[in-house]
């Protein structure tokens, strides 16, 4: 249903090549650059040669083509149905896009067809007019590389005024929240959008250096017992990190993964949730965090 040559990287690359030829760009190296941009590592061996040797009768050897128009393809039924599903999503109003042209289209799915059962229930207010306005304004500022000024409530409940270069928006599917990543280096580098009270484009002429905070990474080494399907559960759970897995002679697995230091408390909780099936091997200070929690628990004397 989804896997079709109509959406293939090769068709896409050829469309761009034909469009480039239509503009009179016939340099072979340019065509090869199109292939490397739109297709795969080895596609260069196939696409341009197939066009030149007549396997695909769309260009002649001299790169002239009988194709008269810039290639385009209408939206497929599948694409329209997906867009209709997008239009029914609770977050859609964050984007200023008109879907009325899809009125007669059946969605591929609706929110009744799936549920995200372990998402936190205090997500952002995606249907709040003020939130939508601030979201759109921030998106515009990032796109246009403009500074913004905003007012927010800090974790300690204080009102804070900030001027910054917005760099990107980060969305967590688990938290169901957006965070603004700013270009302010160390000071107010991330802000939960839901904490903002107001936000405007900065109209003044004061400049700010754009300096995004580089994430600090830590490496964690875990031993995963080969019991109760733990390897599969653990590896899938931590799949979104950069990681390496080795099978140990004991039958257990050693997982080395890289996480961002600011997420350490969350990582402790995630590892605890696997109980005795996952042991922290290194670093020692992370292992101590686990031991500390266990000591406190032992002290509570749960029978």
């Amino acid at each position: 249903m989804i896997f079709s040559e109509l959406y293939s990287a090769y068709y896409n690359a050829v469309a761009h090549i034909l469009s480039s030829l239509a503009q009179g760009k016939t340099d072979r190296r340019e065509l090869e650059a199109i292939v490397s941009r739109y297709a795969f590592g080895e596609s260069g061996l196939h696409i341009v040669p197939s066009l030149l040797n007549g396997d695909w009768q769309l260009t002649r050897r001299d790169l002239s083509t009988p194709i008269r128009h810039t290639p385009t393809m209408p939206l497929t039924e599948l694409e329209r149905r997906f867009l209709k599903s997008v239009s029914l999503d609770r977050r859609v109003r964050l984007f200023d896009f008109d879907f009325s042209w899809l009125d007669d289209t059946q969605p591929l799915f609706t929110e009744a067809d799936y549920c995200v059962y372990d998402r936190y229930n205090d997500g952002d207010p995606f249907e709040d007019e003020g939130y939508i306005r601030r979201f759109r304004l921030i998106l515009r500022a990032i796109r246009e590389k403009r500074q913004i000024k905003f007012e927010m409530i800090s974790r300690k409940g204080r009102t804070v005024f900030v001027r910054c270069h917005p760099a990107r928006l980060e969305y967590s599917e688990k938290d169901d929240k957006f965070r603004l990543l700013t270009g302010n280096g160390g000071f107010v580098s991330t802000v939960n959008l839901s904490r903002m009270i107001s936000c405007t484009l900065y109209q003044g002429d004061k400049t700010l250096p754009m300096r995004e905070k580089e994430p600090l990474y830590e490496t964690l080494v875990l031993r995963v017992a080969n019991q109760r399907n733990a390897p599969e559960r653990v590896l899938l759970h931590f799949a979104h990190f950069e990681k390496r897995v080795e099978k140990l002679p004991t039958g257990a697995y050693q997982v080395t993964l890289r996480y961002e230091r600011e997420d350490e408390p969350e990582m402790v909780i995630r590892i605890l949730s696997f109980g005795p099936l996952v042991e922290v091997i290194a670093p020692d200070d992370f292992r101590e965090l686990i031991i500390d929690k266990l000591k406190k628990q032992l002290h509570l004397g749960l029978k």
Binding site: M1, L6, Q57, P74, L75, F82, F97, E173, V245, G275
Partner: protein, 421 residues
């Protein structure tokens, strides 16, 4: 002997390998025994061609292991979507595709099959020394396929059928919408296909990052799309289900009711009514090998309503083997004690409680209570409150005892208790 091609006919061919390389990535070439060595080499090469820099190799005493390592928080677009763009085709397919859409350039112009054949030959292929030959049936078949895909319209005028391009282009201003929804919605790869249509600016980057972002479920997009299609059509399906304990997939007839997506485990389940056992069961989507759409069923609405009523008792995805009307419910509760300034723990309980409830016992003591089909699904979450749990009571004593045994095992593992304690 057929030669290697970067493209593939069947996605199943690389689906399993990509999951293995990405999720596990410790097996050596020799351990991939289910397929032939040549098949392994071809798939590895193909995936390397698609994923490039994300592929890594490591040498161990057992041999060389291939693995895919991606920090999805910083990849902006799911790298696995590229694999969905590797469908093979024939020389005729691609030639005919671009010629047909060049002829059908204007939606208001329609042509009969014979007119199209004349144009294909006279205006396009005649420019080549050894022109390809497309017979009537090949072009008719291709047009039928495009009508099915919704990109060409066939209109009967008298006895003749006229074909024209469907007038439906993506309006401007969709790129940021698609950058976001292609990553967060099921079947997001379709959003990626749409982005390909508008991605013409060199160096345009998505403005979004995604934290806690599981990209593996995208490998199951086709299965998911078929299941959604069945739900929209209120139809029965037959799935080939590969159980972990079986080598060969088992065919099962089901009425698909809802997809359960986890944003904390990376798994997706289908909850479906299984007529053979007359109950609602969950099936791992990544274990489904194929989905065949069958006839619509008049029972869909009734069964979905039944699932809706069950939702308040499902913690994760398990319903156990309950027949309707004979529910087996397990009671679960645990109590946490917090210290001064630890109100965030209560906020955690409140936001993560799902179908449970939180009761305040005093300013520092709170109890979580739930009645669910399978309390065993809850234990990983309960463990995340270790260091604050003062009491735990599960009606399923096996689950409670295992929780306590596990706690003792952790004390031993980290040297806090001796083996004989």
């Amino acid at each position: 002997m057929s030669s290697y091609s970067e493209l593939i006919k069947n996605f199943e061919k690389i689906r399993a390998y990509m999951r293995e390389f990405y999720v596990y990535g410790f097996k050596t070439r020799e351990e991939y025994t289910k397929k032939s060595a040549r098949s392994y080499d071809d798939e590895r090469r193909r995936i390397e061609s698609i994923l490039g820099d994300y592929m890594h190799f490591v040498r161990t005493p057992e041999g060389k292991s291939v693995f895919i390592s991606i920090d999805s928080r910083h990849s902006r677009h799911n790298p696995f979507y590229k694999a969905w763009k590797s469908k093979s085709f024939t020389d005729g397919d691609i030639t005919l595709h671009f010629i047909l859409f060049d002829i059908l350039h204007r939606p208001e112009e329609a042509f009969t099959l014979n007119e199209l054949l004349d144009k294909i030959e006279g205006d396009y292929l005649s420019h080549f020394d050894e022109p390809m030959q497309f017979d009537e049936s090949t072009v008719r078949k291709k047009l039928k396929e495009y009508v099915r895909e919704g990109i060409v319209l066939a209109e009967k005028r008298g006895k003749r059928v006229y074909y024209r391009r469907r007038a439906c282009e993506l309006p401007d201003g969709a790129s940021e919408l698609l950058d976001f929804f292609s990553e967060v919605l099921p079947c997001g790869v379709i959003g990626s296909y749409l982005l390909d249509k508008i991605q013409t600016e060199e160096g345009r980057e998505s403005l979004f990052d995604f934290k806690h972002h599981y990209i593996t479920p995208s490998l199951d997009s086709d299965i998911l799309a078929c299941l959604f299609d069945a739900m929209q059509k209120k139809s029965v399906v037959t799935v080939a289900n590969l159980n972990r304990s079986a080598d060969e997939p088992r065919r099962v007839r089901l009425i698909p009711l809802r997809i359960f997506i986890s944003v904390q485990t990376g798994r997706q389940h289908l909850l479906a009514y299984a007529p053979d056992v007359a109950c609602v069961r969950s099936y791992r989507v990544d274990y489904l090998k194929s989905v065949t759409l069958e006839e619509p069923t008049p029972r869909f609405d009734e069964l979905r309503a039944e699932l809706d009523s069950m939702m308040q008792k499902i913690w994760g995805v398990n319903t156990k083997r309950n027949r309707f009307g004979k529910e087996h419910i397990e009671h679960a509760e645990f109590t946490v004690r917090i210290a001064e300034g630890e109100e965030h723990i209560i906020r955690r309980l409140e936001r993560e409680k799902r179908v449970g409830r939180v009761e305040k016992l005093d300013d520092y003591t709170y109890r979580f209570v739930a009645d669910v089909y399978d309390s065993g699904e809850m234990t990983p979450w309960v463990r995340s409150f270790i260091c604050r749990i003062v009491d735990i009571r599960f009606s399923n004593r096996t689950v409670e005892n295992r929780f306590k045994d596990d706690l003792r095992a952790m004390y031993r593992m980290y040297g806090l208790q001796k083996e004989d304690v």
